[in-house]
């Protein structure tokens, strides 16, 4: 019937619209000449001349919200039907049918079929509107090169499919290779019913902030795969950069040479990560002490001189250690993170996305766009009753049933609500005027963020700790935040935000490739939640991990199994979501070999 392109259905035309399209050559070709775009929002309306006052040809009424222009002959008629008589627009259509049945709502630039008496949609019409809107928001109005390429036929779109999961068994040659080039991991795993990699971490003295983040990282699929595939071999790395040949990588128990330890080989956080991955996935279930890592990280954090080594916020630690992994690798390969491509190091490859920021002039609509890479998204937890409009609609539709939880839902903060807030258009204050290149003066602006490129793993950080310059104003926000187990990020993508800004037109907006894989890329699954309980200055971090669809609580050295309801009700501080494609749901029933 109709196919989905980029999450959007392309509706089939009504027979009258279809007729019109077949009979007229190049419909809507010069439409954009008549489209007036109102800054800054891009609302489009139809005017022959910019200053004309449209009126109904039949009765002269001026109400622009009810006027329709016939697309065949440009006759303008009104559509108010008083006392049961057909409106002038309907009469025009009936009189001159079949060719004059489609009209344009001149105030909204929408197609209306007078015969079907319904709003109808056409891709080329929408494309013309978007062209006009884009021209209005770029410099000089002429620079736009947004000419839509010929719309791909829906059948061609499904080129890149998700590959279905198939279990792999090695063939004879591969088995021989495995047998000759590898050995099973030392030690029996006495707990085959629990996934490998599940292991407690000893608290080394107020280090739960570190333990909680490490637990999440050990189970971040692309990161785990990277280290377990030996992509950063700590022996090789240390051998290359170590001058005195000490084996300085074993984290615990072995004596690290006779020197004073300060020059134990250069610090490489990736090597220490590699060591920890090996230890945690070894099958040994006694709690592990990440002492060497702590030692290395403290040196790194001290070097950057901007955070105390005592930094005890889990999120700050997360940023700091990713930076540490990047720094070491970056020196080797001279790549920077500035383009957000993630080519520089594994940390950015996994976590880095690109944010788009649009600043729109309120006076002329000129839009200036910048892109910045980001490693995570920090969200405000607003004190107001932060329900999104969708939530409110759902609540009111349920209230008729008298369900008690509908009123409860109405006041809850949600992760999607925070993301809505993050991506909404905000009017910057009049004391924050930006210089508009088109107007050539400082103007008030509208700013809007959106996600240009999603990372493989999205980390959402909830700003629960508020510090102000006076110590007394530090406080923690305990407010509950609802977060879903499955998250669809497509409404926050630049393409969706742009589409909404331009009136939800059928058009492949920025960043959308003409194939269907975008749907899959924006679906995410939750796999780790770092929670904080207690007060600002006396609290505790705990991580919940989702492995094989079972939730585990990692509280320093204690690993226990918990019901998912515990997790749903927990106070999320950092939530880790991985792209659904990388989340091996199919293996959830099988024990990890």
């Amino acid at each position: 019937m109709s196919s989905k392109i980029n999450g959007q259905i392309s509706p089939q035309p009504c027979p009258h619209l279809a007729d019109f399209r077949t009979t007229s050559t190049k419909p809507f070709l010069s439409l954009h000449n008549c489209l007036r775009i109102k800054p800054p929002g891009g609302r489009a309306s139809l005017r022959g001349n910019p200053n004309e006052l449209p009126h109904c040809n039949t009765c002269g009424v001026h109400a622009p919200s009810r006027l329709y222009a016939c697309i065949s002959c440009s006759a303008v008629s009104c559509h108010s039907s008083a006392s049961g008589a057909p409106s002038h627009a309907a009469a025009h259509a009936a009189l001159l049918s079949p060719a004059h049945q489609i009209a344009i709502d001149i105030d909204r630039a929408e197609l209306f079929c007078c015969a079907c008496r319904d709003q109808v949609y056409d891709r080329d019409f929408d494309a013309a509107v978007v062209i006009a809107q884009t021209v209005a928001s770029t410099l000089g109005g002429g620079e736009s090169t947004v000419i839509p390429s010929p719309m791909p036929h829906p059948e061609n779109l499904r080129k890149r499919r998700r590959v279905d999961y198939r279990p792999v068994t090695p063939d004879l040659r591969e088995r021989a290779l495995i047998g000759s080039c590898s050995a099973p991991i030392d030690g029996d795993d006495s707990f085959p019913e629990f996934p490998r990699g599940l292991r407690g971490l000893n608290n080394l003295g107020n280090t739960c902030f570190m333990n909680s983040v490490l637990q999440a990282l050990f189970h971040t699929p692309p990161l785990r795969n990277y280290f377990l595939s030996d992509k950063h071999n700590r022996y090789f790395c240390q051998k290359n950069s170590n001058t005195d040949g000490d084996d300085s990588t074993i984290a615990t128990r072995k004596k690290s040479g006779g020197n004073n330890g300060k020059t134990n080989g250069p610090i490489c956080l990736a090597c220490d990560m590699d060591a920890m991955f090996s230890a945690v996935f070894s099958g040994d279930r006694l709690p592990y002490s990440p002492a060497k890592f702590l030692y290395s990280w403290w040196q790194h954090a001290a070097k950057s001189n901007l955070a105390s080594y005592e930094q005890q916020d889990a999120h700050e630690f997360f940023i700091s250690m990713l930076d540490g992994i990047h720094e070491k690798v970056d020196k080797d390969r001279h790549k920077t993170h500035s383009d957000g491509s993630g080519d520089c190091c594994i940390a950015h490859r996994v976590f880095s996305g690109i944010l788009r920021s649009d600043v729109m002039c309120m006076a002329c609509g000129f839009t200036s766009t910048t892109y910045d890479p980001c490693i995570d998204i920090s969200l405000d937890l607003e004190p107001n009753q932060g329900s999104s409009t969708k939530m409110a609609a759902a609540a009111s539709s349920h209230s008729g049933n008298g369900e008690a939880d509908s009123s409860q839902n109405h006041g809850i903060s949600t992760l999607t609500g925070c993301l809505d807030r993050f991506t909404r258009a905000e009017k910057l204050g009049s004391n924050q005027k930006f210089f508009c290149q088109q107007c050539q003066v400082k103007q008030e602006t509208l700013k809007q963020m959106s996600i240009r490129k999603l990372p493989l793993v999205s980390c959402f950080h909830i700003k629960r700790f508020e510090h102000s310059s006076t110590r007394k104003m530090s406080r923690k926000v305990d407010r509950y935040l609802q977060f879903p187990f499955s998250l669809d990020m497509s409404p926050y993508l630049s393409s969706s935000i742009l589409r909404r800004r331009f009136g939800n037109r059928i058009f492949p907006f920025e960043g959308e490739e003409p194939d269907a894989s975008n749907d899959l890329c924006s679906e995410f699954e939750l796999f780790a939640v770092v929670t904080h309980s207690g007060k600002l200055d006396a609290g505790h971090y705990v991580t919940y991990l989702r492995l094989s669809n079972q939730w585990y609580k990692c509280d320093d050295s204690w690993v226990t199994q918990v019901d998912e309801n515990i997790v749903r009700a927990a106070q999320g501080y950092m939530m880790f979501y991985v792209q659904k494609m990388l989340y091996y749901k199919a293996t959830t029933d099988k024990p990890v070999a």
């Binding site: 080394l204 280090t207 944010l355 405000d380 499955s486 226990t560």
Partner: protein
Amino acid sequence: MSVSEEENLSSSQSQISSHFFCDLLDSVIVDVASECHRIAKLGLDANLDEEDEELKLSAQARARLADPSNSNESNGKYVVDIFGQTHPTVANEIFDCMNCNRSIVAGKFAPHLEKCMGKGRKARLKVTRSSSGSGAQNRRYSRGNNSSANRLANGNLRFAGDKHSNGSSQP
């Protein structure tokens, strides 16, 4: 003007204003209807059901947790972990410090390292905030003494040369 003329004038004025109001109201209604129609026809509102489902599950979870008749699984003391092990409050594994090579108990490694690496003001100042409730198995972390709290209170610390923004909504 006579009274009746004034009355006529005011009634025609109220007619006109009422007419304007109706026009505006019509316009607003058609705006919303048109937008919602488009959103529905183009399938852009597809996720509402899933979101409602998640909200419902979350509300149920919280209700269940608040119910005092349910045993408090998550907080409180642990008896045994999934591997059948128990762990003391202070981790008692012993290893060597990579800085000074002394044998250190794991649970005291961090404070030792602070002094050992010579960084800690803690090394000189008495630690004022220690964990209350010695029986608690959960480790408590403290924000340290006054000076470090000041450092933390300097606002959202970001690492300079940090080329990536964290996407906060500050312009």
